[in-house]
Point group: none
C-alpha cells in the first residue's frame, strides 16, 4: 500500500521552552518516524546543535536544520488554525482533555485545509494556563498514577496517533490472507490420521477422540495452504520412511 | 472511573541486550507511566545504575531495583506463555507483523491467565531471527520511510497501547485459556525436531528453514499445555515405534 502522506505537511510539533536540547532531537526523530517534518521551538536561547543532533540521528537532521525558532508562543502559533495543547494535569478552568486518539480523529477531517499545531510544554511544569489559552483542544495521554511522561515520548505517542489516523483514513479493504480450503484441510487430516494410526498413536477406542482434538487445534490455527502442505509432506515422508524400513526388514 | 490495573501485572517489558543504560531507564519510566512494573534485561553486563536512574526518574526507580537480569533469552522468556517480538524490519521467513494496537487486542483476552512478554531488540540492529524464534506474534509500529524508532519510544508506544487496551476492555473480561509456556513449547519443539530428523524430513540444509516454519505455525496456534503434550507424546510414540522396528530388524 502506498500512503498519501501529504496531509502530514499540515501538522507541526511545537515545543514550548524545552529545557534539554536532547529532547528536541528526540522529538525530531519521533516526528520524522511518522512523516512529520515541521518542528517549531519557542524559547529565548538557541538550543545546542550537537546535543540535539545526537538524539535526532542523521535521518532526522533536516528537521533540526529547518526548525523554526520563536521567542514567543503567539508568533509561533500564528499560522495555525487549530492548536492542540498536550497536558498531563487536570486543572480547573481548562477545556476537558481528551485522549490523543480522540483528538486526532477530530483533527483528521480538518487536515486537508488547515494547519494544525501540537503544542508540548516544558519538561518540568507543562503548559501554563496562559499557554493553554491558544489551544482549541486538549490532549492528555491516559496513564496510570505516574502521569508525567518524558517529553519526547509524549511527542512520539501523539505522532504515532497522527500517523495511525492517516493510515486508517486511507485504508481500503483490509488485505486478508488466503486460508487453506476444506479440500486442502481434509487431505491433510486424512494423511495425518493414516500416520497416527501407523504408529499406534490412535487406537480404535481413542481414534475419534484424538482426531477431534487434533482437528480442533488445527481448526483454531487458520492454516495457510502452505502450512497444510508442509504437514502433509511430513506425514508422507514418515510413511515412506516406514515403508523403506519395512522393506529393508524383509 | 477506577480502573482495575491488576491485569498489568501479567505484562513484562523485556529488553534484549540494550546498549545504552539511559534507554533502560527511559523504558522503565514509560512502562511505569502505563502501570507496568516488570522489567527484564537480557545481557552479559550489569548496566550502569546511575545512567539508568537519571532517565527513569525517582518515580520509576523501583522498576530498576526489581529489574531481572538474565544472560540468556530463553531463560528470560521461560515463564511467559505469549511473547510479542517488536520489529521494524520486514524480512522473509517472518511471521506477518501487525501494528501494536492489533497485537494488544489479541493479547488482551489472554491476560487474566497468562503472562505476556513484549520483547525489544538492541538499538542498532533489532531482534535477530534467532531471537524471533521465541515470539508468537510480531508487532511493528507503522511508520513513514524512516522506520527506526528510538528504543524507549518504541517501548512507550507499546505500553501506551497496552494501557489503552486495558481501559477499553474493562467491560467484563472474556475468559481466556491458559496457554503453553515457552518452557513447555521448547520441550515440544525439541522432541519434534528429533522426530523430523529421524525421518529425514529435516536435512542439514533445510533444517533451520523448516523448523522456523514449524515454529511459526505452532506459534500462531496458541497451543494449550495439553496440546503441547499431545504433540510431544505423538513424537515419543513415533520414536519408540521406530526403535521397536529397528530392534525387530536385528
Amino acid at each position: 500500500m502506498t500512503l498519501d502522506t501529504t496531509l502530514l505537511d499540515h501538522v507541526a510539533i511545537v515545543l514550548m521552552e524545552p529545557k534539554f536540547p536532547e529532547n528536541i532531537g528526540s522529538a525530531a526523530r519521533a516526528a520524522w518516524n511518522m512523516g512529520i517534518s515541521r518542528l517549531i521551538v519557542v524559547g529565548s536561547d538557541s538550543p545546542d546543535p550537537e546535543r540535539m543532533a545526537m538524539m535526532a540521528t542523521h535521518k532526522a537532521a533536516h528537521l533540526l536544520e529547518n526548525m523554526e525558532l520563536h521567542d514567543n508562543l503567539e508568533t509561533a502559533l500564528a499560522p495555525f488554525s487549530r492548536v492542540v495543547g498536550t497536558t498531563a494535569r487536570r486543572g480547573r478552568q481548562r477545556i476537558r482533555e481528551k485522549g490523543p486518539r480522540e483528538v486526532v480523529s477530530e483533527i483528521m477531517p480538518l487536515l486537508p485545509d488547515n494547519d494544525v499545531a501540537f503544542l508540548f510544554g516544558p519538561e518540568d511544569r507543562g503548559l501554563t494556563n496562559d499557554d493553554l489559552k491558544y489551544c482549541h483542544l486538549l490532549s492528555a495521554v491516559p496513564t496510570a498514577d505516574f502521569s508525567s511522561l518524558n517529553l519526547a515520548q509524549a511527542v512520539a505517542i501523539h505522532c504515532y496517533e497522527i500517523y495511525q489516523g492517516i493510515v486508517h483514513c486511507q485504508k481500503g479493504a483490509a488485505q486478508s490472507p488466503r486460508l487453506a480450503t476444506t479440500f486442502e484441510l481434509e487431505g491433510m487430516y486424512h494423511q495425518l490420521e493414516k500416520t497416527l494410526l501407523t504408529i499406534d498413536f490412535l487406537q480404535d477406542k481413542s481414534q475419534i477422540y484424538y482426531m477431534n482434538n487434533i482437528r480442533q487445534f488445527f481448526g483454531r490455527m487458520r492454516l495457510s495452504p502452505k502450512d497444510a502442505s508442509i504437514i502433509r509432506s511430513i506425514c508422507r515422508q514418515f510413511l515412506s520412511f516406514k515403508d523403506a524400513g519395512l522393506s529393508r526388514k524383509k
